[in-house]
């Protein structure tokens, strides 16, 4: 594993005429937690989705663990990877969605073991044992055989985190993981994420949870209108923002 888990170089992305990312460059070291803050529409979620090629970037370069995301470089030219190769890259990157996106026709445990058994070819007994351990760790030992519809939002999101972790990813992406939750359920999900950060997982977290960014984050990036306005250690950025736009945003959310 290289020292640098994620490297972005002048990443551009447009939807039709709307330019969402206008040259985003950043680096995340292995074992680091980077939190991304910014008003809605600032491009932070889009950037996150570019990291595992759910969105194709229009220009620039993205590397995860030293290899180019979604493309192969031959000379100056980039060739898009085949579907199987993209899938192979994604298998090593976990993603947690705002709306959980659990598979509703599978129980919590079935959700967790689906990809290990069908993508990695792990045998079922091993996958079940690992899946149960993962669910236990997020406090859902008694919910393994329950369908997502019977779980609270917070429980669903913790299942979703376990599902991503079951693939033993080297990088975890969180897309506003607590935004769809009732306030009293946010804590359990953040606890699970803090635990993960302590265990040394490399994480990129798009969030509005300033408290989480301050305690658990190594770096904080503030984005607005498709560019990084400022970045640095969370306490510094939060208590002493250098940029007007950061200050204006923080004054609204703090």
């Amino acid at each position: 594993m290289s020292d640098l888990m994620l490297k972005a170089e002048a990443v551009h992305k447009s939807f039709g005429r709307l330019e969402v990312l206008k040259g985003v460059s950043l680096e995340v070291k292995t074992g680091e937690v980077m939190c991304m803050l910014g008003p809605s529409g600032s491009g932070k979620s889009t950037f996150l989705r570019c990291i595992n090629h759910l969105e194709k970037i229009d220009a620039g370069r993205l590397w995860v663990d030293g290899s180019l995301v979604g493309y192969r470089q031959q000379g100056d030219k980039l060739h898009e990877l085949r579907e199987s190769e993209v899938a192979g890259e994604r298998a090593q990157i976990g993603m947690v969605f705002q709306r959980f996106n659990l598979f509703p026709h599978m129980t919590a445990l079935e959700n967790v073991i689906e990809a290990p058994t069908h993508v990695l070819g792990v045998d079922k007994a091993t996958a079940v044992a690992e899946g149960q351990a993962l669910l236990e760790r997020v406090g859902l030992a008694d919910k393994v055989d329950v369908y997502p519809a019977q779980l609270s939002g917070g429980q669903q999101q913790r299942v979703a985190i376990s599902r991503a972790l079951a693939m033993k990813p080297k990088l975890m992406l969180f897309d506003e993981p607590t935004s769809a939750l009732d306030p009293e359920l946010v804590g359990d999900v953040l606890d699970a994420m803090r635990q993960l950060a302590r265990d040394g997982m490399t994480m990129v977290v798009v969030t509005h949870e300033i408290g989480f960014a301050r305690e658990a984050g190594d770096t904080l990036v503030f984005m607005d209108e498709g560019v990084i306005v400022e970045s640095g250690p969370p306490r510094e950025v939060l208590s002493n923002p250098r940029h007007d736009r950061t200050r204006a945003f923080l004054s609204k959310v703090l």
């Binding site: 199987s84 899938a87 996106n101 598979f103 026709h105 993508v119 369908y147 991503a164 693939m167």
Partner: protein, 288 residues
């Protein structure tokens, strides 16, 4: 008295029903005795079996084709999309009766089917059209290939009904397109696909009677053969109707249990009362 309107309506309906039943039972022209004689006549039973076989096989062809065509239609490859769209346009755009007749007479266009190098190359094997396309095969092709076009649209609607987030979640776990479809999207699409497919099956059961035009002895044609000799037209049509009703009832019960199975994991389980709706479905006739 509460609900007195219901009581009045019930009495009125009961009286009307009694009048109808009385007239049906006591009208000698229905010839219920003849109906009883022919209900389990070996020719009728054989015809009923052919109808079931035709329905089952045509639906298998239709469903398999439908899934393939729907997946093709949603493919990122434009050529594959065009192929699927053309198929649906063609087979949905011509009457199924014409398609059945066409397969019956395909021997006039291509008397022989051969495997070999095309454009005048050597031929490895060859078989006469009339040998390969029997009446049963012609009827089956006509019904099944047509059904495929309809099933494709049903399956496509089912696939589109599944939230985009499901595909994204599966992809983010490293699942490929076909695996995602098979494990994540199609099982969820089933809830949307099953009810109209049950409808299609019930409709197919009755549409299969169209193959009587190519003298394939399914249920209706078997009855026609009998009443063309003994002129007991009405009783034999009643026999046919009883068999069709029996089959559609069985199918509806099967559909009920299938729907219940695929509703698992959703808060909206198929309720017991829905059984009545399923039964109503069975009786509803649809013109081919």
């Amino acid at each position: 008295m509460r609900h007195w309107g219901r009581w009045v309506a019930s009495v009125v309906v009961l009286v009307i029903a009694a009048v109808i039943v009385y007239s049906v039972v006591n009208n000698p022209r229905f010839q219920w005795g003849v109906v009883g004689d022919f209900l389990f006549d070996p020719r009728i039973v054989r015809g009923a079996r052919v109808t079931l076989e035709l329905t089952f096989l045509a639906m298998v062809i239709g469903i398999v084709l439908g899934v393939v065509l729907a997946v093709m239609r949603l493919s990122p490859n434009p050529l594959v999309v065009a192929l699927s769209s053309f198929y649906i346009w063609f087979f949905r755009g011509t009457p199924v009766l014409v398609q059945i007749l066409f397969w019956q007479f395909v021997g006039a266009l291509y008397p022989k089917f051969s495997i070999g190098i095309p454009f005048g190359g050597p031929v490895f094997a060859s078989v006469g059209a009339n040998h390969l396309i029997t009446t049963f095969v012609a009827g089956l092709l006509g019904l099944g290939l047509n059904e495929g076009a309809y099933m494709a649209e049903i399956v496509r609607a089912g696939i589109l009904s599944v939230d985009e987030g499901q595909t994204e979640a599966a992809q983010s776990l490293g699942m490929r397109r076909i695996l995602t479809l098979r494990r994540v999207v199609l099982p969820q699409a089933m809830r949307v696909i099953i009810p109209p497919t049950g409808n299609e099956t019930i409709s197919m059961l009755k549409t299969s009677s169209l193959v009587s035009v190519i003298a394939l002895a399914e249920l209706l044609y078997s009855a026609q053969l009998i009443y063309s000799q003994n002129f007991k037209t009405i009783p034999l049509l009643i026999v046919v109707a009883i068999w069709y009703l029996f089959f559609t009832t069985i199918l509806s019960i099967g559909q009920y249990y299938l729907e219940r199975y695929y509703a698992r994991g959703t808060s909206r389980e198929v309720r017991r009362q829905d059984f009545g709706r399923v039964m109503a479905n069975a009786i509803r006739f649809r013109h081919p």
